[in-house]
C-alpha cells in the first residue's frame, strides 16, 4: 500500500518557541492551568464574602442584621446546627425526588413526542402549536388548578415539574432530528434505507448533541419546578421550597440561607451530572461533549 497520509501526532504540531519570547507564549503546565481555572472564581467568592460581611456589619444596624446574617453565622446556625441541617437535607431529598422523577418523565415524554413529530408532519402540525401554548401559559397561573385536580402531594409537584421541564426537550430533540446533513440522508436513500434504519442509525445519533443541550436546560428547570411545587403543594413531608417559605416567615435567616445554598448546590450537581453524561456519550466525536 502506497501513500497513506498519517494524521500528524499532536506533539509535532508546534515547534518550540525561540527562547526569550514573552512568557505568555510558553505552554502552561497542567498544574498552572488548574490554578488558572480555580483561582479567579475563588477570588470572586472571596470578594462576595467580603461584601457580605461589610453589609452585615457596616450597613445593617444590629437589630436589622437578621436580614443578612454574616457568613459564619450561616455556617454555624444553618449548617452547624444538626437538627436544622437535618431538616434541610430531608427537605432537599423530597424535592430532589420530585425533580428527578419529573425530569425523567419530561425526558421520556419529550423525546417520544419529538421523534413522532419528526416522523410525521401531521403530528408536528397538530401538536407543536400546543407545545408552544403550553410553554407560554404562565405556569404559576395554572399551578393552583393542578392542585385542585390532582391533590396537593407528590403527584401534583411532579406534574408542575414536568410542565416546566418538557418544552426544551421537545424543541431541542426535534431540532436535532431535523438538522441531519442532507448528504447523509442521500447516503441512506441510496441504500433504500427504511424509516427505522434512518431513525436509529442516522437521526437519533445526529440529534444526540442537541438532545443533551435540551437535557441540561431541562435539568435546571426541573429543580425550579420542584421548588415551585413545594411552595404550593404541602401535603406529605415538606420539600425544600416549603422549608424556605417557613424560614422566611419565621425570620430564621441562617437556616434560610443554608437551604438556599443547598438548593443551588443540588441544581449544580444535576447540571454537572448531565455534563458528565454528555461527555461520556458524545465526547468522543462531538465538540459540545468535551469540557464546557
Amino acid at each position: 500500500m502506497t501513500a497513506v497520509e498519517q494524521p500528524r501526532p499532536a506533539s509535532s504540531v508546534f515547534s518550540a518557541p525561540p527562547s526569550g519570547l514573552a512568557r505568555g507564549a510558553r505552554a502552561p503546565s497542567r498544574r498552572a492551568r488548574t490554578v488558572q481555572a480555580v483561582l479567579p472564581p475563588l477570588a470572586v467568592l472571596g470578594t462576595v464574602l467580603g461584601i457580605w460581611y461589610a453589609v452585615s456589619y457596616l450597613a445593617l444596624a444590629p437589630r436589622r442584621r437578621f436580614l443578612l446574617p454574616p457568613p459564619h453565622e450561616v455556617a454555624t446556625d444553618g449548617f452547624g446546627n444538626w437538627s436544622a441541617f437535618h431538616e434541610i437535607l430531608t427537605g432537599l431529598g423530597e424535592t430532589a425526588k420530585v425533580a428527578l422523577v419529573g425530569l425523567g418523565v419530561a425526558a421520556a415524554l419529550g423525546t417520544v413526542v419529538a421523534v413522532l413529530m419528526s416522523q410525521a408532519r401531521w403530528v408536528e402540525r397538530s401538536f407543536y402549536p400546543w407545545a408552544v401554548v403550553l410553554q407560554t401559559i404562565p405556569i404559576l397561573a395554572i399551578v393552583p388548578l393542578i392542585g385542585f385536580w390532582l391533590g396537593y402531594g407528590f403527584r401534583s409537584r411532579t406534574v408542575v415539574c414536568v410542565l416546566i421541564a418538557l418544552f426544551p426537550i421537545i424543541t431541542n430533540t426535534l431540532f436535532g432530528l431535523r438538522s441531519v446533513d442532507a448528504a447523509h440522508h442521500d447516503l441512506f436513500t441510496l441504500r433504500h434505507a427504511g424509516r427505522w434504519a434512518r431513525l436509529v442509525h442516522l437521526e437519533i445519533p445526529s440529534a444526540l448533541p442537541a438532545i443533551f443541550t435540551g437535557l441540561r436546560i431541562s435539568a435546571g428547570l426541573s429543580v425550579i419546578g420542584a421548588v415551585v411545587g413545594d411552595f404550593f403543594f404541602r401535603e406529605g413531608k415538606p420539600g425544600i421550597g416549603s422549608l424556605i417559605d417557613g424560614y422566611t416567615r419565621g425570620l430564621e435567616s441562617a437556616p434560610l440561607f443554608a437551604a438556599i445554598i443547598m438548593t443551588s448546590l443540588f441544581g449544580l450537581a444535576v447540571f454537572w451530572a448531565f455534563d458528565l453524561l454528555a461527555r461520556l456519550t458524545i465526547g468522543g466525536w462531538h465538540d459540545s461533549g468535551r469540557r464546557s
Partner: protein
C-alpha cells in the same frame, strides 16, 4: 427532512418512483435525451445523451452550475429526470460524494460497514467485507479511529472504502477530491485507477480539473454552461494502468489541450 437543501425535489426514497430502465448489455449507464428542470424553473440540463460502457471510466468537466452533480443524482435515482430516460445496469451504484459524509460517531470500521449494514448483510460477512475494503483503500491500522482524528485525504479514503463494500458495478464520483491538496488528490486518483484495475467497475467521474479528467478517464465529456448540454466527447487514448508521469507526456498534453479548449468554449 433532507428537502431544505440541494435541489428542491430530492425528498425521501420513493417506492412509487418509476423503476429505472435497464441499459442494454455491455452498457453500465445510458442517458438518452435527458433534461432536468427544477420546480423553481431552473433548467439544469437539456437533451443530454451519453453512455458509460461496462468497466469504463468517463469523466465529466464543465463550468459550475452546468448540472454535473444533478447528472450523478439522476444516475443514482436520487433525482428523477424531467424528460428523457436514464438507464442503469446496477441496482445501487456506488456513490462517492463531494464531502466524505462520514458519520462522526462511528469509527472508520463502523463507517465502512454502514452500507452493508443497511443492506442487511449478516455480521460475519460484513466484517469480512469491511476488512477487505479497508485493506484495499489503504486504511489498515486506522479501523478504530474516529473520522475527526483523520486528515481530509484519509477521510476520503474511508468514503471510498465504504463505497467499495457494496461491490458496485457502477461508481459515481462527485468531485470527490476537489477539497484536497494537489499531492493527496493525485494519490487518491491513482488509488481509483488501481481499484478500477482490480474491481473493473464502470465509473462516472465529475471533476473541475482537466488534468484529473484526462488522467483518470478513457473518455471526457465537456458540458456547457447552464442549461448543461454535452458540448464535446473526447477520447483519451492511453491504456491502464497509467503512471503519474503520464501527465507530463506530450500526447497527454495534446488531449488535455483539446479538453481545455472545449471547456473554454463552454464558458462562452
Amino acid at each position: 427532512m433532507a428537502d431544505d437543501s440541494g435541489p428542491p425535489d430530492n425528498g425521501r426514497p420513493a417506492a412509487h418512483r418509476d423503476p429505472m430502465a435497464t441499459a442494454p448489455a455491455g452498457v453500465a449507464l445510458a442517458f438518452t435525451g435527458v433534461g432536468k428542470t427544477f420546480p423553481d424553473g431552473t433548467e439544469a440540463l437539456r437533451e443530454v445523451s451519453f453512455e458509460v460502457r461496462d468497466g469504463e471510466i468517463v469523466a465529466i468537466v464543465g463550468p459550475s452550475g452546468s448540472g454535473k452533480s444533478t447528472l450523478l443524482r439522476m444516475a443514482s435515482a436520487l433525482t428523477m429526470p424531467s424528460s428523457g430516460t436514464v438507464a442503469v445496469n446496477a441496482t445501487a451504484p456506488g456513490y462517492v460524494f463531494q464531502d466524505p459524509t462520514l458519520l462522526p460517531w462511528r469509527t472508520v470500521a463502523g463507517n465502512v460497514g454502514l452500507l452493508a449494514q443497511l443492506d442487511g448483510v449478516p455480521r460475519a460477512e460484513r466484517r469480512r467485507l469491511v476488512a477487505e475494503a479497508i485493506s484495499l483503500a489503504g486504511l489498515t491500522g486506522f479501523e478504530r479511529h474516529r473520522p475527526t482524528a483523520l486528515s481530509g485525504g484519509m477521510r476520503m479514503r474511508v468514503s471510498l472504502a465504504r463505497a467499495l463494500t457494496v461491490r458496485p458495478s457502477l461508481f459515481l464520483f462527485d468531485e470527490p477530491f476537489g477539497a484536497l491538496d494537489e499531492i493527496t488528490r493525485q494519490r487518491l486518483g491513482q488509488e481509483v485507477v488501481r481499484l478500477h484495475g482490480q474491481e473493473r467497475f464502470a465509473g462516472l467521474f465529475v471533476t473541475h480539473s482537466v488534468v484529473e479528467s484526462v488522467w483518470l478517464a478513457s473518455r471526457v465529456l465537456v458540458l456547457s454552461a447552464r442549461p448543461g448540454r454535452v458540448l464535446a466527447e473526447i477520447d483519451v487514448p492511453f491504456d491502464y494502468p497509467r503512471q503519474p508521469e503520464l501527465q507530463f507526456d506530450a500526447a497527454f498534453g495534446r488531449t488535455a489541450r483539446t479538453v481545455s479548449e472545449a471547456l473554454r468554449e463552454s464558458f462562452a
